[in-house]
């Protein structure tokens, strides 16, 4: 386990380094030079040279890379072109709101997905199971924005229950929670996007657990079915779901961009989307970096959690 951990952390570090290189390459893959983008088309060659020297753009690429990494390590993600604010400040404002949104939707998805998945496993091969599996497949395979559009059509246009747009001017997490009615739709849409995966993982692992010998023993002891399910099947079926939590982060983030764009939720996704429309590269790359590192760390934690939660797992040292 120790050796495996060392190796696994080493790989994670290598991948984070790779993400750094990737964003660095993306900066330089931008068509046209940064100086032209900032100074405009009428800038004289002398001014461009000055700009390049001031910002270190005339140095060889590997030196620029070292400077770039150095800046990142000091929390300097650059300045946004649009907002004229440091990217780190912009992200720090929005990350807590995203934590609320993604956290609530993930919890909702787990609360719905895991029991339904286990229920499906108990009704394995019956009509209910097939209908639910079909529903999940449709929700999972359909584009992320479909659910959002249908919900808007139903809840906002048809019945006028909720407002489709998040009210502007909300800055704090407290304000976000105070306006909980506006949170409903984004949270529900994001939960719908992830619930299918959770429930199907819970289902297939519960089916495996139900077929295991220890369940037969427990039943033979005469334990009521309710306890068999809640005490034994549920616990052991949660295991793969825990790891899926770590692995599904990229999907959740992708869904968050679309959902935030639709509902005008003031989070990282909306920031990213607007930056993409405005060619605001420092924001785009800063966000990419944060998401990439979060994904790597999430995967790492999922792997470790898997080993910690299930002592039967042994990692090959080869």
């Amino acid at each position: 386990m120790t050796w495996y951990l060392i190796r696994r952390v080493g790989q994670a570090i290598a991948v984070i380094f790779g993400v750094l290189v990737l964003t660095f390459i993306l900066i330089h893959a931008e068509s046209g030079s940064t100086a032209r983008a900032v100074l405009g088309l009428k800038a004289t060659p002398a001014r461009i040279a000055l700009f390049n020297r001031v910002y270190g753009l005339d140095k060889p690429l590997y030196e620029q890379f070292v400077v770039y990494v150095d800046h990142l390590l000091h929390g300097n993600f650059g300045m946004s072109y649009e907002y004229s604010q440091p990217v780190s400040t912009l992200m720090a404002q929005r990350l807590p709101r995203d934590a609320v949104l993604l956290g609530m939707s993930t919890v909702l998805a787990l609360i719905i997905g895991v029991p339904v998945g286990i229920y499906q496993a108990l009704r394995h091969n019956l009509l209910v199971d097939d209908v639910l599996a079909g529903t999940w497949f449709t929700l999972y395979a359909a584009p992320d924005f479909m659910e959002a559009l249908l919900l808007i059509a139903l809840v906002c246009v048809q019945f006028h229950w909720l407002q489709p747009n998040f009210p502007g001017g909300i800055t704090s997490v407290g304000g976000l929670l105070a306006d909980w009615r506006a949170l409903i739709l984004p949270v529900v849409v994001l939960a719908i996007n992830t619930v299918a995966g959770f429930s199907q993982y819970a289902r297939s692992s519960a089916i495996q657990q139900l077929a295991a010998d220890y369940i037969r023993v427990v039943r033979a002891k005469g334990l009521p079915e309710r306890l068999v399910v809640s005490r034994h099947v549920l616990r052991n079926s949660l295991l793969p779901v825990v790891t899926i939590l770590g692995l599904s982060l990229p999907d959740i983030v992708g869904g968050a961009i679309i959902a935030e764009a639709i509902f005008n939720f003031p989070g990282m996704g909306l920031l990213f989307w607007q930056a993409a429309l405005e060619h605001d590269f420092p924001i785009l790359l800063g966000t990419t970096l944060v998401v990439g590192v979060a994904t790597v760390v999430g995967n790492l934690l999922a792997d470790i959690a898997y080993g910690v939660l299930d002592p039967r797992i042994r990692y090959a040292s080869a």
Partner: protein
């Protein structure tokens, strides 16, 4: 793991001709060995057709899920490429007299805000979506399969470095990279195809590599090596054809993902500029009009988009199931409505699937 498809087409095979098209592994391997060569590698491996749970043209043909997907795709192809030849409508000029007409009259599905026929736009929009889907699926599969096979075959430090590159691309959500690159360059169908292909090969690569890792110690590979086969021959004649099953699955998922990615991109307003039509663009325009009650501008594109994406996912899922769901999928079960849980998406994301073993 699935039984290797090592035995050349023999008398046990009732329809050798039909098998050979889809089951290239079988065909190529059979052709590469002298008659009766099955003894070399057939040994203790199951060779009977009935024991193989593989993906063959015949099993595919008899799989209701896969075929339902194929039929839907066929209908979509006819709808997008042949129907416009019959249902001719003016798609180029703006006619505001006809704007936002409800369905009925001269326009079966009504008109949009520029007075263009919605049904005709659906057909033309679908062309670009489907062209994109198929191109991206082919390109990313070829890149990913070759990269993964080379990485798996060489192994060692090269493999480690190559796979860390793949991990890096997988670590950043594809959608984020897509948005970044889309905002950098002016897009048309060709550039989107290139971008999406370059972004979507790592998933294929992981699966093919895992397959090659398990194949390269098999008897038939040793046999080929002992007969003096060069690396390139091992790779293209012996290893890659046997991973065919894997990449037919990923290719059908890739079509679905690409169609969806383009629609999401257009939906977010980052797709190709206006003369280009696709379902996502129609949806974006339609959403603004949903509040005005112009439902016919939203539901038709939503419907065809969802049906198309579902059909390709359906095919991929069914193929995955036929292969035997070896990648930790749900246990096989009797199917009543042909619906099974999806199993592929998250598996390819497991960063160290091949390092973890149950003790």
């Amino acid at each position: 793991m699935r039984a290797p498809e090592a035995s050349p087409a023999g008398p046990a095979d009732p329809t050798p001709g039909a098998e050979q098209d889809l089951d290239a592994a079988h065909y190529l391997h059979g052709a590469s060995e002298p008659a009766g060569g099955g003894a070399l590698d057939g040994g203790e491996l199951p060779t009977g057709r009935g024991e193989r749970s593989g993906l063959t043209l015949r099993s595919f043909w008899h799989n209701k899920r896969a075929m339902s997907g194929v039929w839907i795709v066929m209908i979509m192809l006819i709808f997008c490429f042949i129907a416009p030849l019959i249902y001719r409508m003016n798609l180029t000029t703006v006619n505001l007299n006809l704007a936002n007409d409800p369905p009925g009259g001269g326009h079966i599905l009504g008109t949009d805000e520029y007075g263009t026929d919605v049904l005709a736009r659906l057909m033309v929009g679908g062309q670009s979506s489907l062209e994109l889907g198929f191109s991206v699926a082919i390109a990313s599969t070829v890149i990913g399969a070759i990269y993964g096979a080379i990485s798996g075959m060489i192994g060692g430090i090269v493999d480690a470095i190559l796979m860390r590159i793949v991990d890096t691309i997988l670590a950043v959500p594809t959608f984020i990279l897509l948005l970044i690159v889309a905002s950098m360059y002016s897009l048309n169908l060709i550039t989107i195809i290139i971008i999406l292909s370059l972004l979507s090969w790592p998933g294929v690569c992981r699966l093919v590599r895992a397959e090659v890792l398990s194949l390269r110690t098999r008897e038939f590979v040793h046999a080929a090596r002992s007969m003096g086969a060069k690396r390139r021959r091992l790779l293209f004649v012996h290893l890659m054809p046997n991973t065919f099953n894997v990449f037919i699955v990923t290719a059908s998922f890739a079509v679905a993902d690409a169609v969806y990615a383009l629609s999401a991109l257009s939906f977010l307003g980052l797709g190709p500029p206006p003369p280009f039509a696709d379902w996502g663009t129609m949806l974006t325009n339609g959403v603004d009009n949903l509040f005005n009650g112009y439902w016919w501008q939203v539901y038709p594109p939503l419907f065809v988009l969802v049906v198309t994406v579902l059909a390709f996912r359906q095919i991929g899922d069914a193929c995955n199931d036929l292969i035997g769901g070896q990648r930790g999928a749900a246990p096989r079960r009797r199917r009543r409505f042909g619906l099974l849980p999806m199993s592929t998406k998250y598996d390819s994301g497991d960063p160290l699937a091949d390092d973890v073993s149950m003790a």
